[in-house]
């Protein structure tokens, strides 16, 4: 594995290996001494052309826990605002002595461009590009699901996939790179995916995806589902009216208190996931976000472990 650009590139074997390594990384995170020496002397650059809190901090924590040095770069306040190209920025980083690049970019395909060109010959990790992919988010979601189910069943998660699991991804599919990355990875790991969204928030061509599409959240919940992945309504990417108003969205597509009550009344073991940041009261109610079913904070914890595993995979082994 040279780069981590898309979950569609991962074989089942590779995906399970990353999750297994992440499992051990998570255990190391519970020690008094959390640091591991695996990447001592290596430098990881976080190249962020788009705002981010948890992903950047998570990658920074992951690199530091593995003893790598971290250089954080954000486009705001950098030479990018003077018109510097991606190529020049990347080559500057190489000259500084970076060993791996974590990149987030508003344009879909920017990480793939860095990886495909001969501008720099470094491992590239896609930390979210436009509306394309966000592979480490999908990996941490899969890790969280796998771990929660193994805990529930009292078995070891190591080596397992997500076979037979039913996952519903709900909300703003159109703008969501998280939904796309999750779709490929969940399929690779053996889970079945249902996308639930208003027709306006589904991309053209979604019917060709390996998933079921539904416009009725209540029906999906009634049919039984192991996890509900609620997506953030990405207002900043919306240039048109995709739904009449927030209250209507919340009523039809949000995980509100009534739907949470339905889950509880049915005694379902459905997990509630959200990649964050949450719009409380829009796609998810506060009660749902803070309920015992919610894995939101667990996802953040697991994110560090999954990113440690990704960095370790790319920066160890025969690279040269």
């Amino acid at each position: 594995m040279k780069h981590l650009l898309s979950t569609a590139d991962l074989s089942r074997e590779e995906a399970v290996k990353i999750l297994d390594i992440a499992g051990e990384m998570r255990e190391a995170g519970t020690r008094v001494v959390k640091k591991l020496p695996a990447l001592r002397g290596r430098t990881v650059v976080n190249l962020f052309f788009e705002d981010s809190t948890r992903t950047r901090i998570s990658f920074e924590a992951a690199a530091k826990r593995l003893s790598a040095d971290v250089i954080n770069f954000s486009a705001k306040g950098s030479s990018v605002s003077k018109g510097e190209s991606l190529k020049d920025t990347a080559q500057t980083l190489l000259a500084i002595g970076a060993d791996a690049v974590v990149i987030r970019h508003p344009d879909s395909g920017a990480p793939a461009r860095l990886a495909a060109t001969d501008w720099i010959d470094l491992p590239i990790i896609n930390a979210g590009d436009g509306t394309h992919e966000h592979p480490t988010q999908a990996l941490l979601d899969a890790f969280t699901l796998r771990r929660q189910l193994a805990l529930r069943d009292g078995v070891s998660a190591t080596g397992l996939g997500l076979d037979g699991l039913k996952v519903a991804i709900v909300g703003d599919i159109l703008h969501s790179r998280v939904a796309r990355s999750n779709l490929w990875l969940l399929n690779t790991l053996g889970a079945s995916v249902t996308m639930v969204a208003p027709p306006t928030l589904l991309p053209v061509g979604a019917e060709s995806w390996p998933c079921t599409i539904s416009y009725d959240l209540d029906q999906v919940i009634a049919e039984g589902v192991d996890a509900l992945m609620m997506l953030r309504v990405q207002g900043e990417r919306m240039r048109a009216a995709y739904f009449p108003n927030p209250r209507e969205y919340s009523r039809y597509w949000g995980l509100d208190d009534a739907r949470l009550g339905t889950l509880d009344a049915a005694g379902a073991e459905t997990l509630i996931m959200h990649p964050g940041p949450m719009n409380r009261g829009l796609e998810i109610s506060s009660a749902a976000a803070d309920s015992p079913r919610s894995t939101v904070l667990d996802q953040v914890t697991n994110g560090v472990a999954v990113r440690m595993a990704s960095l370790y995979m790319l920066l160890s082994g025969d690279l040269i």
């Binding site: 594995m1 390594i21 051990e24 591991l36 020496p37 695996a38 160890s316 082994g317 025969d318």
Partner: protein
């Protein structure tokens, strides 16, 4: 040393019975060096160090005046992320580290591995150990010492000293992992 394929050039140097006898002697050496079993913790280095540590613990527990659970003496210490060759081999998946309930602070920790060779694994194990706690004493027990050290490390308890050429391979097979018990030397190809 980790493949299960016994090729034609392999020669058995320890049979299953030999391994049992050797482990019994090493177990008594450990007790003697510690003047009893107080504070003893045996930490096996994956993968084959762990079943060896379990076998030693069973013998040590059996020698106790009051019955104790051998499992309370044994743990596993993973060293993958402390290796100095991470950049040069294929990506290794770490194994779990499991410490006995009493932890290792103030204990007498005996590291257990199958083959002592360059000493680099033990160097990594010492680093890993210090991230988990501060043992009072750390000792090293190995089934086979094949020489060719690259670091100033020696074992306190050696099952068998095995003079080898650097080009030869030492293969340890243990029931728990490989289905058979034997130690073989394989000539270079």
């Amino acid at each position: 040393m980790n493949e299960n394929s016994a090729s034609d050039g392999a020669r058995t140097v320890l049979t299953g019975d030999d391994i049992e006898r050797v482990l019994t002697r090493v177990a008594f050496e450990i007790i003697e060096a510690n003047k009893g079993i107080e504070d003893l913790v045996l930490l096996g280095i994956p993968r084959r160090g762990f079943p060896l540590a379990q076998r030693l613990a069973a013998r040590i527990a059996a020698s106790a005046d009051t019955p104790i659970d051998p499992a309370s003496l044994v743990g596993q210490l993973d060293i993958t992320l402390y290796r100095d060759d991470l950049r040069h081999s294929t990506t290794r998946t770490p194994e779990p580290t499991k410490l006995p309930a009493g932890g290792i602070d103030g204990k007498v920790v005996v590291l257990v591995d199958d083959v002592l060779y360059s000493g680099r694994t033990i160097r990594a194990a010492l680093d890993a150990l210090s991230d988990w706690g501060r043992p009072r004493i750390v000792r090293l027990a190995v089934l086979v010492d094949r020489g060719h050290r690259e670091l100033p490390i020696r074992a306190d308890h050696v099952g068998k000293n095995l003079p080898t050429a650097k080009s030869e391979k030492v293969r340890v097979h243990l029931e728990e992992i490989d289905g058979t018990n034997e130690v073989m030397i394989e000539a270079a190809e």
